[in-house]
């Protein structure tokens, strides 16, 4: 009876997930196995679009590049966010921690698209970065900081640094400070206490931040479109190409499901650390 009561309580959330997540994914899966005929109408059931995707080197490269870019962004965001979150949790006085967190996320109250274009202005050959370098005589001609994959990664890291700071801070703030004190009392150095006590206990926060970064980064279209200069086409851009002209929803669905599969693999890899109760 108690089990049934729990089921009824969970039913609204379950229905929400089924209707707004599971059903759209199923519809997308249905589309992906109905490739378009030569005349643009939907054809019979077939995995031809999956075969066509893997037969086209540019599309496979786009998928691989998307995964590599995402991994680079996760690594860079985590490495930069961790010391930042550690300082907020352990250095900033408690009464100022909330203000410090707000200051960390304040820049992100602007539109994501506007922020990407702002970085384009800053990094372009005539942007403020090049102007400073030229005026200081450090370079003889403008350097190409924008319109390349590194600019895309930079734009991503700027955004996900904030996200990872929040998740890592949430994890650090939950660690009982007595653990580290006990380790220090027993003779551990500050570094050893950090690596053997603090860092392992903060891994859930790191994992949640990493997972959220993977989910949002791998499907992002705006940042590579604005900052990437098409030096490296990522899969979301290829998906948009399928839709923009011929509305090839079957091929777009195929590619989107492949991205979903990558996210699912990421979840399976990280799930032992994704302990939401710790956040």
């Amino acid at each position: 009876m108690r089990r049934l009561a729990g089921f009824w309580f969970a039913l609204p959330a379950l229905a929400w997930i089924l209707f707004f997540f599971a059903l759209p994914v199923l519809i997308m899966a249905g589309y992906s196995v109905r490739p378009l005929n030569a005349d643009g109408t939907m054809g019979p059931f077939s995995v031809a679009d999956y075969a066509a995707f893997f037969a086209e080197p540019a599309y496979v490269t786009a998928l691989i590049d998307s995964i590599i870019t995402t991994l680079i962004v996760v690594a860079a965001s985590t490495l930069l966010a961790y010391p930042f979150a550690w300082c907020i949790a352990y250095v900033v006085p408690k009464q100022y921690q909330r203000a410090a967190l707000i200051a960390a996320i304040l820049p992100f109250w602007t539109s994501y698209v506007v922020r990407s274009y702002a970085w384009l202005l800053a990094l372009s050959p005539v942007g403020v970065v090049n102007k400073i370098l030229l005026s200081l005589g450090l370079v003889g001609h403008p350097l190409m900081f924008a319109y390349n994959p590194q600019a895309t990664e930079f734009g991503f890291v700027h955004f996900f640094l904030m996200l990872n700071t929040l998740t890592i801070y949430a994890s650090l703030a939950q660690i009982n400070p007595r653990y580290e004190l006990a380790a220090r009392d027993l003779g551990a150095s500050a570094w050893r206490a950090f690596f053997e006590i603090t860092l392992p206990l903060s891994i859930p926060g790191v994992a949640v931040g990493a997972f959220l970064t993977i989910v949002l980064c791998i499907g992002d279209y705006v940042t590579p479109q604005i900052l990437g200069g098409f030096r490296e086409l990522l899969l979301p851009q290829v998906i948009m190409m399928q839709i923009q002209r011929q509305l090839d929803l079957p091929m777009a669905s195929t590619m989107s499901l492949l991205l979903t599969a990558v996210v699912a693999l990421a979840y399976l890899s990280l799930q032992r650390w994704l302990k939401m109760a710790r956040l």
Binding site: G40, A58, P125, V126, Q225, R231, Q244, Q246
Partner: protein, 360 residues
């Protein structure tokens, strides 16, 4: 203890919500049918200065939905009921495609000023199917070469090969719409961009790879326009009056040209949906857009400028100069419309473009 006049209860709330929903469901279609014209449009039809005279003269509200492409329109139509939309602004190379889908209503040629639309723009291949008119051209322009005339020699820009010149390495931007870029590369190879086949693709791909190697970046409308106006690049392949004409006052150093070998021409038109319940108002809307007043406002839209299809457009001499009015007869003669192609060939072009962007 406070007492409320109307006690809150779930039953009360549900009853009120149900009555409101019923009232809305009845009122909304009525409001839609009487006094509104629903238009799927590109951003250049959204200026109040363009729409208000028509709305005032006809006692109607133009309810527009912004679309970026015909595919966007098809996606919206797929989520709408027949009759939800009345008029569409579209790339006229898609006229046949939408007609085959049964979406467009036949139009009467006598209702529109075709006598003052250049013959190449009024081309039945773009506006008609089997002799029946389905779309009316309203605006056109070019995907050719835009450049900063203080940084790139205007005489050199008359040669289509200029952007491939090593002299301009790192100073070139490429607009990221694959159809005109592929046709432009074909033109640079001496091919007819109107008649491309599978056999032409390897050479076109090599040409595009060479262009990309010489370019600083490939980008969308906003990115390439920003790059040209800020001086990050000096040449834009695929650019035209839509990039330079509207900003002539602020950036008089920017201009465009059609090289001796030719350029590519974009063209947009208006059609009425077959399921529209407001066809007479749709006809009036098209007639207004094609009027001298409507054409002048459309040509100089705050979103992007372009050539009005009607040569009687009430443009000022300064606007005509910015649009290179006097050169249009030559430009039209030396330009080719977008390729009309099968979905299968379009897929091949997209895949080739993706390979070029990946540098493969």
């Amino acid at each position: 203890m406070l007492q409320f006049r109307y006690a809150f209860s779930p039953r009360n709330l549900i009853r009120r919500l149900a009555l409101s929903t019923l009232a809305f469901a009845v009122a909304a279609p009525m409001a839609q049918a009487a006094g509104t014209l629903n238009v799927l449009t590109w951003c250049d039809h959204e200026d109040p200065s363009l729409l208000q005279p028509f709305e005032a003269a006809n006692g109607v509200k133009v309810n527009f939905k912004d679309i970026g492409s015909t595919a966007d329109a098809l996606a919206i139509l797929g989520q709408s009921k027949p009759g939800d939309w009345d008029v569409i602004v579209m790339d006229e190379t898609d006229t046949g495609r939408l007609e085959r889908m049964g979406l467009l209503s036949p139009l009467e040629k006598a209702d529109y000023p075709f006598a003052t639309i250049p013959a190449a723009i009024a081309n039945p291949k773009l506006t008609s199917v089997d002799g029946t008119l389905y779309t009316v051209p309203e605006k056109f322009g070019y995907n050719t070469i835009a450049f900063n005339k203080t940084a790139a020699d205007p005489a050199a820009m008359q040669d289509i090969e200029a952007p491939w010149d090593a002299k301009y390495k790192g100073r070139v931007a490429v607009y990221d719409y694959y159809v005109p870029e592929i046709q432009y590369a074909a033109l640079a190879l001496g091919k007819n961009p109107d008649k491309l086949t599978d056999a032409d693709l390897p050479a076109i791909k090599a040409k595009l790879l060479a262009l990309k190697a010489n370019a600083a970046m490939v980008g969308d409308v906003t990115t390439v326009q920003q790059a040209l106006t800020t001086g990050a690049v000096d040449i834009l392949v695929g650019g035209g009056e839509w990039v330079t004409a509207g900003i002539q006052t602020d950036s008089p150093n920017l201009t465009y040209t059609i090289p001796t070998q030719g350029g590519i021409r974009w063209q947009q038109g208006l059609g009425i949906f077959a399921a529209s319940k407001n066809k007479p108002m749709g006809v009036k809307f098209i007639q207004y857009i094609l009027s001298p007043e409507g054409q002048a406002k459309l040509a100089t839209s705050s979103c992007y400028w372009g050539m009005p299809a009607n040569t009687q457009a009430a443009l000022t001499p300064a606007q005509k100069a910015d649009l290179r009015w006097d050169e249009q007869a030559t430009y039209i003669k030396h330009s080719y419309p977008y390729l009309q192609m099968t979905p299968a060939f379009d897929k091949k072009l997209q895949a080739m473009w993706a390979e070029v962007m990946q540098g493969k």
